[in-house]
Structure formats: C-alpha cells, structure tokens
Symmetry: C2
Subunit: 240 residues, 2 copies
Amino acid sequence: MNALATQTSFPPYSPQSQAMAVAGPIDIDQLSRHVQILRRKLAPGQHAYRAGQSFHAIYLVHAGFLKTCELSEDGRERVTGFRMRGDLVGVESIGLAHYSCDVVALDDSEIWELPYPPVMHACLYMPELQSRLTAALAEEIRNDRAWMLALGTLSAEQRVAAFLLDMARRHLRLGFSARHFLLRMGRADIASFLGLKHETVTRALTRLDRLQCIEVQRREIRLLDADGLQRMAGQGETIH
Amino acid sequence: MNALATQTSFPPYSPQSQAMAVAGPIDIDQLSRHVQILRRKLAPGQHAYRAGQSFHAIYLVHAGFLKTCELSEDGRERVTGFRMRGDLVGVESIGLAHYSCDVVALDDSEIWELPYPPVMHACLYMPELQSRLTAALAEEIRNDRAWMLALGTLSAEQRVAAFLLDMARRHLRLGFSARHFLLRMGRADIASFLGLKHETVTRALTRLDRLQCIEVQRREIRLLDADGLQRMAGQGETIH
DNA sequence: CGGAGTGTTGAAGCCGCTCAAGGACGGTGG
DNA sequence: CCACCGTCCTTGAGCGGCTTCAACACTCCG
C-alpha cells in the first residue's frame, strides 16, 4: 500500500487556491452574502442529480470526483466528462426546467449547491460573477469541442494517451503530481467517454505500458514518458 | 431545375419569426440602441473568422449557411457544427483573447457582428439579454453533448440518419420543408462532422435510399420515411 | 473462503477505412 | 454550343482496427 492508495479524496476548494479549472476563481465569500449555499456530501455511486429532475441549482465541486452522463430515450448512455475540485456542474441545464443529464459521484465528494435563480439575481450585484459564469460556459464548449476533435481524429491508443494527459494536467492544476496518480473511474467509464469498449482501453493501456510510456497497475498510473504520450496524442504542449 | 435549386439562400432573420434556434429571439432593435451592429456578407468559402484572430465580436447568422471547424496544432481538423439563420456564432471564444476555431460560409451568407465588450455592457441595461445569452451557451453545450452521445453510440448509417433528421428539424424551424431540402455542405464536411469518411457517408446515403427511407440525388434530399429514420437513429420524437 | 465486481487476455469477425477508378456536374473558354 | 477541366460524388475490392464473445486473474469484503 502506498501514499496514493491512502489519498482517498481531493482536498477542499478555496478561492485563494489554484486557478479554477473552468470558471476561474469564483468569489464564494461574496456570493454567499447574496445566495444560500448548501453543502452536499455524496458517497461513490450517489447522484448529484438525474436527468429529468427539476432544475434548481448549479454546483461547484468542492472535493471528490464525479462523472456526467448523457442518456438517450432508447437507453443508450455515454459519459461526457469527469469533474473534479473547482469544476462547475449543472451549467448545461441552465435555461431548462429539468436537468438534462446525470451526474454521479465516483468517489466521496462534496459539492456546493448554488441555487440558480438566486445566482442569476446575484449577478446584478456582482458584475464580475456574470462574466465568470459566461466564461465558464464558453470554456465548457471549447472543452467539449476539443474532445470531439480528438474522438473524431485519433485512434484508440491515441485517445487513451490524450485522456491520460488530460488527467495529468488537471491533477497538476489541483496541486497533485502529474506523473503519478490514481484513476477514480473504471475502464468502462473511460471507454464510454472515449467512444471505445473497455477491453480496448485495457489493451491500449497495456500497450502504452509495454512501450514504456506509462506504468499501469489497475487504476494506478505513472507517466514515464509524457513527451512521448504528447507526440502520440498530437499535442505540442508539455506538462511542467 | 426545380424550386429547391433556385432557392439559393435562406430568408433573413427577424425577431418576430420562429423561435430562434439557439438563443430564443434576441431583441435586436433594443440591442442596436446600445451596440453598433455591423452587417457582414460572406461568399461561399469566405471565413467569418479564423482561429487565432483577435476576439472582438460574436455573430448572429442572419442568412445563409456556415460551418464551424476545430483545428489542432498538428493539422488535424474537424467540422464541429453547421450554423444557419438565428444561430449564434463565436460564443465558444468568449473569455479568450483570440478565436478558438474557424467559421466558414458554405453559401452566400449574412452575419450580424455584435461587438463583444459592448454586448456584455448592454446586458446591464437589458437584463433579459444576459439570460438569453447564458441560455444560448447552455443550449450549445447540450447540443454538443447530444452529438457526442450519438457519435459514440451509433453506427455510420445511424449517424447519417440522425444527421438528416437534425437538418430536417432545423429547416422546419426556419419555415422550410422538413421533407425536402438541399444540403449546403459536401460529403466531406458531413463525414468530418460525423466522425466518418466521405465514402462512408455516400454509402450510408445510398443504403438509406435503397431502403426507401430517403431519396438522394447529390445534395438534394427527400425524406420518404421520417419515422423509419427516427427508429433507426434511436429517437422517439416525430417531425411534424 | 467464496462470490461479486473489475480488469486482463485471446481468437474470430465485422464495420468502416484505404486505395483506386470512373461518373456527374458546373464553370470556363474557345 | 461544345470541349475541357476541376471538383464532387459514387462504387468496388481488400484490408485492418476495433469489437465481440469468452475465459480467466485479481482484489476487495462479506
């Protein structure tokens, strides 16, 4: 058993910490003067909300790890993203009477409920909140589009490489090691997100391991050659 | 030569017309009191903007047909969507100094340039503009996610069916026939959008034709069995 | 221990891709 | 008006990557 295995959950969100993944730091202290912020804890497997429930709030992930799932009428399902500390959740349902997707905790998590009409109203008193919110939505679109590009143009192995790099970057942004981390989701969730089957993800991980790019042991990942992964995924930037 | 062939471009946008595809009708008259709106005409192949140009405005499509393209550093490219009358364009770049994608006219088009800092400022005087804008962004996210679900779970033929139904619905919303329309883009653009190759799109269209679901003749499409297409694409709703 | 859940590995098959050729259309210039 | 050209679309044949199906290993927990 190593240090990673005992790191059960991410530390809490604070506005003074690293730049927020999506929205940039939201001034929670100021916001809490205008809206009642409810803290909700979720155990693994619990839903933050489900498609069809009436929309009343967006959420800021304060700790833990969650996935968002898109559902179709005929039962098809797909993971559309993974959320961690600092990410906003629920913004995709703004403007609707009901949430349009499922959000499920993959780990012990805490999310802060920001009741929506009140938040919107608070924007009148906090002009920068409005632009932060809008910027967060735009960022979400860009993020989705970047993945659409990846899923449409990369092979299975390249997608898995890109996925690992994305995880690494986000871990880094939260102050964790980008070279050594635990995946919080199963192979099936990764596969669903990448538009593959879980066996294919396993095989890709095994191959990357054999190529000495990474070391895999179930959910524990060690990046041995991040540059190699980046070349593979067709990305120029480097993880610092 | 038939009626469709002579219908070279879509009629203009007006706030009184059908519900806007993305944002709901924006009150352009009122907005124009606060913001200088510039009308730009584009010929087929011309860019509304390119990735990397400095961001200064979002656009409302007033007439015509455009595509948005995502680009990667290593030259991969993908069409991420098609825009027609009433659609907002450029919102994905809000919060950035530079546009993040390319937008190209596929047809003679007119777009209305809404300078962005001024629009944001106008929101202070037009509170409903802000919520419309936010709702438009959220709608964009849902739209992208719905396609992510489709592309990850449907076969080539099903994707093409879903694509045709989407086109049909959007034509209908603009007051055109949902059963008979002209595709404004080539096979390669459809393929890129659907994560396929152009030959595969051709073959899927040919098969749908043989199955009597549609009639294809180059870019002219006639839906013979919309319900059949819907069942095929795993969607329950009906085009009215 | 045993059983469930999850991850790994193998073998075979299929869907979509690749490569290649030919056809239809639209524009241009003789 | 027709010949020519480039672009777009279509079709075929063969291949390959991912999926499918199946069996087995590992880990966690009762």
